[in-house]
């Protein structure tokens, strides 16, 4: 082998050697074990400490509250939503006492009225809803129920009730014309009250043959209004007619 080639080979070997050495020292140990990244980074990510313990950890020591809570409307609300992150409390219960929020500011985070919230989600206006009183004076946060279901139709249908109160139909209760299932109070939209479906229903009072009081307006059902149901032309909550 010519001398210059020998020298070149030595230089080449030194270069290759230094490259291998540099790679050995510069490329992290676990790089490329699982892919184009340091496999040790997965362990670093996994090694972080817990802050939220999870509701299972709470239930292990507080079964009575957990049982009550799991049967109630707040069953999907984990303990740590209101009581804060409590992994430290699970580690050493005596040293970290979870807060029990009693102030009025917490509940409106979910329950204050907001147009963007889904329909049917229970919402109140914190300004007008029993101002100054803590929510927990009336509502048990672990098993909340609305204080009472509205009994009167007017609780929700105030405008109709006010109109009807001044009309000729004031004395007729809502349920005379509307059949209201009990479910309507819980899921108003899914269980709507009925409306009279026949002309004969109004005819019980308003037909020529009806045995109702004489001063009630009468029509001849066979000629009046053709095929239409009465409420398609007359607004039954405020019927027109001579005073």
């Amino acid at each position: 082998m010519p001398q210059q080639l020998k020298r070149l080979a030595i230089v080449f070997l030194i270069l290759v050697g230094s490259l291998i050495a540099a790679r050995h020292y510069l490329v992290p140990k676990t790089f490329g074990v699982l892919g184009h990244y340091r496999a040790a980074a997965i362990d670093a990510n996994a090694a972080k400490p817990l802050v939220y313990a999870g509701h299972e950890a709470c239930a292990a020591c507080h079964p009575d509250i957990a049982t009550m809570h799991d049967d109630a409307r707040h069953r999907t609300v984990a303990c740590e939503v209101c009581h804060g992150a409590q992994a430290a409390h699970v580690e050493s219960p005596g040293d970290h006492i979870p807060p029990a929020p009693r102030e009025r500011s917490l509940c409106p985070l979910c329950h204050s009225y907001n147009t963007s919230r889904p329909t049917g989600f229970p919402q109140i206006d914190p300004v007008s809803h029993n101002p100054g009183r803590a929510c927990i004076t009336c509502h048990n946060p672990h098993a909340p129920v609305p204080p009472h279901t509205p009994q009167e139709c007017s609780a929700c249908h105030g405008e109709i009730a006010r109109t009807k109160a001044l009309s000729k139909h004031a004395a007729i209760p809502c349920t005379t014309c509307h059949e209201v299932a009990e479910k309507h109070k819980i899921t108003p939209v899914l269980s709507t009250p009925t409306k009279p479906q026949t002309r004969e229903f109004c005819g019980q009072c308003h037909s020529q043959e009806a045995k109702a009081a004489r001063e009630i307006a009468r029509v001849d059902l066979s000629t009046h209004g053709e095929r239409y149901v009465c409420w398609q032309c007359h607004y039954a909550h405020s019927p027109e007619g001579a005073e």
Binding site: A44, A85, N114
Partner: protein
């Protein structure tokens, strides 16, 4: 050879018979040895697997479901995320956040997210007449084909075997390429470490068999977590019973955050 040939002629009770018994015994021992070793190994294996409750990443492929119709915009997810992952409290850094969409009658779409929704949203929304309005929780979509991983020049962000995109904060050089590449705006540069940061699906919780902090605290169950490919998981049920959409499907990032009841206006 010699002894074999002579054996039939030997008398019973002779020393030769004793040695034959020994031979039989050794033969049996030899035959039993592999069985014995195998038994020992099986027992050892059983003991090892009993002790080995370690996490097996290849058995998982995580995803999240979000039911938009259940989100009440309370922002507990964004708050819990910051607590769990020590995210800076300034209102610019979020691993997950809640957006409010307001579609007005004149065709305008207004998207707001004051402090990521942590402090709640103001009640009044628009004077123009609201057509539709709803909340949309957002987070890293944990893409199966993540653009952020493709652009990282040093291999500091990667897709794990269990389908989570993680950041190696000891190796990240803070070049911000991944922040630019993410089509969902899910990454930010941590102002303290000056490295890229993002939702990890609370990886440290997953390896302990717990769900991410945002899923834990969501009060209405709007966030559903589980394995994508499992035979039965909350996520699989959620995907089965809802019409599912993902964000920006046209980018082929194959997101693993699945939205139900998502409005067409959501970007």
């Amino acid at each position: 050879m010699n002894t074999e040939a002579n054996r039939p002629q030997e008398e019973p009770g002779s020393p030769e018979e004793v040695s034959r018994d020994r031979r039989e015994f050794l033969k049996q021992c030899a035959a039993a040895a592999p069985l014995l070793l195998a038994t020992v190994r099986v027992v050892e294996g059983a003991v090892a697997s009993a002790n080995d409750d370690s996490y097996k990443p290849e058995e998982h492929n995580y995803g999240m479901g979000i039911d938009v119709s259940k989100c009440i915009g309370c922002g507990r997810c964004a708050d819990a995320c910051k607590t769990e992952n020590n995210v800076p409290r300034e209102p610019f850094y979020f691993r997950t956040w809640v957006e409010r969409y307001v579609l007005t009658a004149d065709g305008e779409t207004v998207v707001t997210s004051p402090d990521g929704g942590i402090e709640g949203f103001p009640s009044t929304v628009s004077e123009k007449g609201v057509l539709r309005t709803f909340f949309v929780p957002k987070l890293c979509n944990q893409c199966a084909n993540p653009p952020c991983v493709q652009v990282c020049p040093v291999g500091a962000t990667f897709l794990t075997r269990d389908g989570v995109v993680l950041v190696d904060k000891d190796y990240c050089i803070g070049c911000r390429y991944c922040i630019q590449a993410c089509p969902y705006g899910a990454r930010f540069l941590n102002p303290i470490t000056h490295t890229a940061e993002k939702c990890t699906f609370c990886y440290h919780r997953l390896v302990q068999g717990k769900v991410p902090a945002c899923v834990e605290v969501c009060p209405t169950g709007a966030r559903i977590f589980g394995d994508v490919g499992a035979r039965s998981s909350p996520l699989v049920r959620f995907k089965h019973f809802n019409e599912i959409q993902v964000l920006k499907p046209q980018l082929n990032t194959e997101p693993k955050v699945y939205y139900a009841n998502l409005d067409g206006e959501v970007r």
